[in-house]
Assembly symmetry: C2
Homo-oligomer: 293 residues x 2
């Protein structure tokens, strides 16, 4: 698969808006800000939720949301996805009506940049997942991935206030999704994988955000054994990663990174000293969200 | 009221945990990470939700959550708050049982670092709120606040991966709350204000995070007319701020800031050139989450 098979389109005028403001000198300034628009999701005839999203890839977002909420299973067959841009509505149709009412009963709000809710059986599936112990991450891949992702054109660089998630393989970023809510970016990737029948084998997940419990749960739910971020860790995220034997790497910037779980998958194949530092203009401040100083 | 009447306690050992990891050279490293622990909230006899929080101020968090979810109104009398540290349970008791079932019917997931759900009548109350048009923000206050907040001891500086919110008055930070989920930090402040009968008059709200729709909605719901962040904006956040006549200031760092709504409350009483830059070690990278480059 090619690098950036799917990538942000900063030139898509629907995704940003120019607004006029006043700066610290009192002078008028025009700036671009990322758009949030509502998207109401229906599963068959049932209204599930209204999400706020930048609005690209409503189809992938809808499917990924249902998957990550365990309202849709790998076994479910999607017979159609209808998106009405005027109504901001997306309808996912399945061959067999899924019943998930019970899943809505018990919910836990997750912390961090979270859609906010993890359903009971997400934890149950967490217990069952077996991440590939044979998967490897060469440090040369890690350095190449972060360099490519940080310099790729993005809404973040164009307007800020947005999060990114990237599905990668070896040293290649494959699918790069952004959204105001990081949970949407993750869900868009999960939806894209499901619809394109791309499995987690050999995949690496990169996020600009913190390695919270929810990030770890979703990455494990997707079956991806390696999770990388420039940002920091939370204790529960680390604990869950260790339980699931997920390789968890944070604070990955320039030559530096810190691995707090699954270090046995790391292959140190390059001298960090040989890795160039980051050009300041390419530093993803957004990606440094909550990173330890 | 004194500066930092309430402030983070980085030395509270319950809030961080030391974990061992492996760095980019393959060397073992010990680092501190912020703890997330579950807190199950009951309103009277009804279980509402389980939140993930760092666990300080469960009482303020519980009340603030109920207020910001409109499950509790200013008119409701709290007769007791019981917190069981072993069970991670907090129970808020009210004189009159509140009924909010209908509020749970229609929900909208917000983007950004959101608990995730804004109930129908949060938007309704948004329509009703009148923010004080006479409130003012001197730029000298803004510079003093950001300097004091950035240099105050915090879990962010100690362990990262955490968000902060600060209730301020003129040039004084009054209450500084942090949590893994920014929505928790906001709710803790809302709870503290309610329980200490501190009103929004003359208050200024500071957040380390992005100025999303949810941040604006919550600030307006709290009746605070001025919202400041070092981070970036979203289009809907700006639109809502303009509707509510909220003064919205983002990208506030060093001498610079950008006001995208309610600029008429600004009083330029100091020459930005006279404002010292920020020492690198005090730059709140976490606060730069998603900020435009």
């Amino acid at each position: 698969m090619d690098e950036f098979t799917l990538a942000p389109d900063p030139d898509d005028r629907r995704l940003t808006e120019e607004v006029r403001g006043t700066d610290h000198t009192g002078a008028p300034v025009d700036t671009r800000v990322v758009v949030e628009r509502p998207l109401t999701l229906f599963l068959n005839s049932r209204e599930i939720v209204t999400m706020m999203t930048i609005g690209d890839h409503p189809d992938h977002l809808a499917v990924g949301y249902l998957l990550n909420q365990a309202m849709l299973g790998p076994e479910d067959e999607i017979t159609g996805i209808d998106y009405d841009e005027d109504l901001d509505v997306v309808v996912v149709r399945t061959a067999v009506e899924t019943d998930f009412e019970d899943k809505l009963a018990k919910k836990t709000l997750t912390s961090g940049c979270a859609q906010g809710t993890v359903f009971g059986d997400m934890m149950e599936s967490f217990e069952r997942v077996r991440l590939d112990p044979a998967a490897r991450l060469k440090t040369s891949w890690l350095y190449a991935l972060t360099a490519k992702i940080n310099t790729a054109p993005s809404l973040y660089l164009a307007a800020g206030a947005i999060h990114g998630c990237v599905l990668c393989e070896e040293d290649r970023p494959l699918v790069y999704m952004e959204d105001v809510g990081r949970h949407n970016a993750i869900d868009k990737i999960a939806g894209w994988m499901f619809r394109n029948r791309v499995g987690p084998e050999g995949k690496i997940f990169y996020t600009t955000g913190r390695l919270t419990s929810e990030m770890v749960l979703k990455c494990v739910a997707m079956g991806i054994p390696i999770l990388i971020s420039r940002s920091g860790f939370t204790a529960w995220g680390v604990e869950l990663a260790r339980q699931a034997n997920l390789t968890l790497i944070g604070r990955a910037r320039g030559q530096r990174f810190l691995c707090l779980a699954g270090a046995e998958r790391l292959v140190y194949d390059i001298d960090p000293a040989a890795v160039p530092g980051e050009a300041k203009r390419h530093r993803r401040k957004g990606a440094e969200a909550d990173d330890a100083a």
